[in-house]
């Protein structure tokens, strides 16, 4: 089953990378979000997928899931949230200042 998910992750990375290379600032942010999702899934999958019980002490048997990747991903989700919001606000501010979200137009003078 892991391989199916690895392939899905690969597709997410492709889409995310493609969006990163786009000219629209919003698409770039979208690309960043897609890649974040892919990374979170990757961490969980690498640890070994398990549909057993949740990592709670009174439930934990031999088939319970590994709690450590959960803790790591949880941190990552929250930090990713912070970064994404920051990016969104930056985009907003960029648009206010330059009246465009086209990265080609945002690059400044030719010979700096």
């Amino acid at each position: 089953m892991e391989y199916l998910i690895f392939i899905a992750i690969g597709v997410l990375f492709s889409v995310g990378t493609y969006l990163l290379l786009c000219r629209s600032l919003l698409k770039v942010i979208g690309g960043f979000m897609v890649i974040s999702h892919a990374v979170h899934m990757l961490i969980l999958t690498m640890a070994g997928l398990n549909t057993g019980s949740a990592p709670l002490v009174d439930l934990s048997g031999s088939d319970s899931t590994d709690p450590l990747p959960h803790a790591v991903i949880l941190t990552a989700i929250v930090i990713g949230f912070g970064l994404t919001s920051f990016l969104i606000v930056l985009a907003y501010r960029t648009y206010k200042a330059h009246k465009t979200d086209d990265l080609e137009k945002l690059r400044g003078a030719d010979n700096e």
């Binding site: 089953m1 919003l26 959960h70 994404t84 648009y95």
Partner: protein, 807 residues
């Protein structure tokens, strides 16, 4: 911390207080405060250690710095270090005294000057007193830095900046090479301590890295000690104020390379490569420097090239003396040790006469406003004291008795003649060329000394050449060169006064590997009708004749080419370097986010692909696939929606559809977490996704429709190619890593958290306990990050584009 540590550190400490003192007592020349430091240091050093050194003892004191890496601030005082310490502090005191009268209190930035100078004194003392090569390297680069700052002291002049940059580039290049050499030595011996390296000399000698290490260390020494072809920075360094030229660029810093070669002689000496490289480089530099000095029309230019030439002489002597470490015969050992004696003696002599010459040239410049040999003339009557000191210094440099330069030059001739009898290192009959080169260079030295003497002081005094009223300098300005001039005479008449305390201890510390007990060498002004005496007489005779006919050969075209041809390489190199960097920058720094992403992604993909391919992981992929376990049918459905919601994103033009699609993706990821029993993740994801959607909605309300992507086929192709290769590689790396994990059967480290959640954390939700308890710090800092983000967001939204804040 021993006294020696303090000797190194005091100049640095003083550098902090100099600006304060300068501001507190604006009426007193800052130099008076500074003068106290080298003066105190030279007296403390002499009083504390001179008798110990005469007894041949050494002092070692270690203060740990980075002991894990074997980097210790260890100081080691032996004869060689002692000699250099006295030179640095002694000449330093005289130079500071001289600078007080040379630099005007009102016009110059005295604080800057003395901070740099003190930094140099400290760094230079660090170089010669430490036993740890890493510490030595750090101080070494500090001397380069101080030198650069001092050369560029009058930074309004373009030439100063040029000279400063040139010296920096060349000496720092050498310093880096030297560091590489030290690293190789560390690989061979496992220590950064010079003494321990000397103990391991057999390992070094037989190591395949011997020659590379030696060449790298020598690059450091040769660039610092202006050996051909790295000498080109010194003439341009003459833009520095004259006290600096006298101190750094003739008496001390340029001798750091000499010190390094002497210090490394016990390690590398005794090999034919060491002997030949240093001897030939030294002799060639001696010759080249002399010829170039002859062509200079600027007094300081003459002295710069003459310094190059004299340093070549000392270098050649160190090379010749290293033969003593190879010769197993006691007679030969003593004979070639003589070259080291000469080297040390000439080192002292050169510092005295060249120091005084630089100072008098500075005085001439100061009083007449010119250093041009074609303008000067007839100053003998106007400046009698300056004239006398110059005459003494020039006579010593030209090798005329009874001055100290005569003795060391005679000894140099004798050493070079003795080299012809060397029974090893492939020396043959052709070796007669060695004394011939030495002798010719000395003739040229004699001629340019005569030029300096004649053109400056003799001839007709023409007032129209000077735009100021020329008169003798003030006594304060004259004091330092007079003291040095007296030393020149004293050392010439009584050369043995320093043998016991300075020269012999330094020679024995350089030649630690010889089998015989070296006796103190007896230096005499008169040592009979030997071959070297006839060589000296020849020098004077030919020199005088050549000088008398100088009007003939000074018309030659080659004579008038002042600038060294080797500069061509530097100038071209700098031009090409700048053009090259500019070209690369133009290609690289386009200002397009897409380009930057492309560079990074292509690089990462290439790096990973090459690594995977080299470790055979691509081939192992099919085997990894074989371990797949069953996939439930609904999983295909989940993945289809998840991938599908992402895959449509690039094709969407409407903002609201884009946001919804991203929302679907987030919810599917949340579902994914639910399926694999990660309720905390699923909940957090759900929450975050909701909030992000709101934020996106809010922001997009203010944003325009998304820019359309260009329709160009090549543009899309490149994007698709990069995106596809990134995705494919991520999949392959994951599969390979996952297969490896199954193969090696790692045990998870989470057992600790599972077992200890209740006893140590007191909670039943293990993820929760891990986050708030075991990794509590991490979570607190995470909250901090979110707080900073929140502040930044507020700032970015609320802050007005013009005018004040309204937060």
């Amino acid at each position: 911390m021993s006294l020696l540590h303090w000797i190194i550190l005091i100049p640095f400490l003083a550098a902090f207080f100099i600006p304060l003192l300068g501001r507190m007592f604006p009426r007193i020349h800052t130099g008076w405060f500074v003068l106290f430091i080298p003066l105190a240091l030279v007296m403390v050093t002499w009083i504390s250690y001179s008798s110990l050194m005469a007894d041949g003892e050494t002092i070692l004191s270690i203060v740990p710095w980075v002991p894990m890496l074997d980097i210790n601030f260890s100081v080691y005082l032996d004869g060689l270090s002692f000699l250099f310490t006295l030179l640095i502090t002694g000449i330093g005191a005289l130079v500071v005294l001289y600078s007080i009268y040379y630099l005007d209190k009102k016009k110059e930035r005295l604080q800057d000057f003395y901070v740099y100078l003190l930094m140099f004194i400290g760094a230079m003392l660090g170089v010669v007193l430490t036993d740890n090569v890493i510490v030595l390297y750090v101080f070494w680069e500090l001397t380069s830095l101080a030198s650069t700052l001092l050369i560029g002291f009058w930074f309004i002049r373009d030439k100063s900046i040029f000279g400063a940059q040139k010296s920096m580039l060349i000496t720092v290049f050498g310093g880096f090479a030297m560091l590489g050499g030290f690293m190789l030595l560390y690989i061979m011996t496992g220590t950064f301590s010079i003494r321990e390296m000397i103990g391991d000399v057999d390992v070094i000698m037989n190591h395949p890295m011997f020659l590379p290490a030696m060449i790298l260390v020598l690059l450091g020494a040769f660039t610092k000690s202006v050996q051909f072809p790295f000498h080109i920075w010194l003439p341009d360094a003459m833009e520095a104020p004259t006290p600096v030229s006298a101190y750094l660029h003739s008496a001390t810093m340029v001798k750091a390379g000499i010190y390094l070669v002497a210090r490394m002689t016990p390690i590398f000496g005794g090999s034919s490569e060491w002997f030949w490289i240093i001897l030939i480089t030294g002799l060639f530099t001696l010759f080249w420097g002399a010829i170039s000095a002859l062509r200079q029309k600027d007094l300081k230019g003459v002295l710069a090239f003459s310094t190059i030439s004299q340093l070549g002489l000392i270098m050649a002597l160190l090379g010749a003396g290293s033969a003593a470490l190879y010769a197993q015969d006691p007679d030969l050992e003593v004979m070639y040790a003589g070259a080291i004696v000469t080297a040390m003696f000439h080192l002292i002599n050169h510092s005295t006469f060249k120091g005084s010459l630089f100072m008098v040239v500075g005085i001439v410049d100061h009083e007449t406003g010119t250093r041009n040999l074609q303008k000067l003339g007839g100053l003998m009557a106007v400046m009698p004291v300056t004239f006398t000191v110059s005459a003494v210094g020039l006579a010593a440099m030209a090798g005329i008795p009874p001055f100290n330069g005569f003795i060391s030059k005679e000894m140099f001739f004798a050493n070079m003649v003795e080299l012809m009898e060397l029974p090893f290192f492939g020396m043959g009959d052709w070796a007669i060329i060695i004394p011939i080169v030495a002798w010719t260079a000395s003739v040229i030295t004699f001629i340019y000394c005569a030029f300096m003497f004649y053109k400056t002081f003799m001839g007709k005094y023409d007032r129209q050449n000077y735009w100021v009223d020329v008169h003798e300098a003030s006594p304060g300005l004259l004091l330092s060169p007079i003291l040095l001039g007296i030393l020149v005479i004293v050392l010439g008449l009584f050369p043995n006064i320093l043998t016991q305390t300075l020269i012999h201890p330094s020679v024995t510390s350089i030649l630690t590997g010889v089998s015989v007990e070296l006796e103190p060498y007896n230096l005499t002004l008169w040592h009979g009708f030997e071959i070297e005496l006839f060589m000296s007489i020849g020098v004077v005779a030919v020199g005088v004749i050549a000088f008398l006919y100088h009007r003939k050969w000074t018309r030659w075209e080659i004579y008038n080419k002042e600038r060294d041809v080797m500069n061509l390489f530097y100038d071209q190199g700098i031009d090409k370097l700048q053009d090259g960097s500019a070209a690369i920058t133009r290609v690289q720094m386009t200002g397009r986010l897409r380009d930057y992403f492309m560079y990074m992604l292509v690089f990462i993909v290439a790096l990973l692909a090459v690594t995977m391919w080299r470790s055979g992981q691509f081939q192992a992929l099919p085997e990894g696939l074989a371990t797949t376990m069953d996939t439930p049918l609904y999983m295909y459905g989940v993945m289809l929606i998840l991938v599908g919601s992402a895959a449509v994103l690039p094709f969407i033009q409407s903002r609201i559809t884009f946001i919804i699609s991203i929302g679907v993706l987030g919810l599917m990821v949340s579902l994914f977490f639910t399926i694999f029993s990660a309720p905390d993740l699923a909940l957090t994801q759900l929450l975050v996704e909701t909030v992000l959607l709101i934020v996106l909605m809010l922001a997009f309300r203010h944003l325009p429709e998304m820019t359309k992507e260009p329709k160009s086929r090549s543009y899309t192709t490149v994007n698709v190619l990069i995106a596809a290769s990134v995705g494919a590689l991520v999949t392959m790396v994951s599969i390979s890593a996952y297969a490896l994990r199954l193969d090696l059967d790692f045990t998870a480290i989470s057992d600790f958290f599972i077992e200890n959640a209740v006893p140590l954390g007191g909670g039943y939700n293990i993820v929760n306990v891990t986050l708030v308890d075991f990794r509590g710090f991490d979570t607190v800092l995470e909250a901090l990050v979110l707080g900073i983000v929140a502040l930044a967001v507020i700032m970015l939204i609320k802050h007005r584009f013009k005018g004040g804040e309204d937060i």
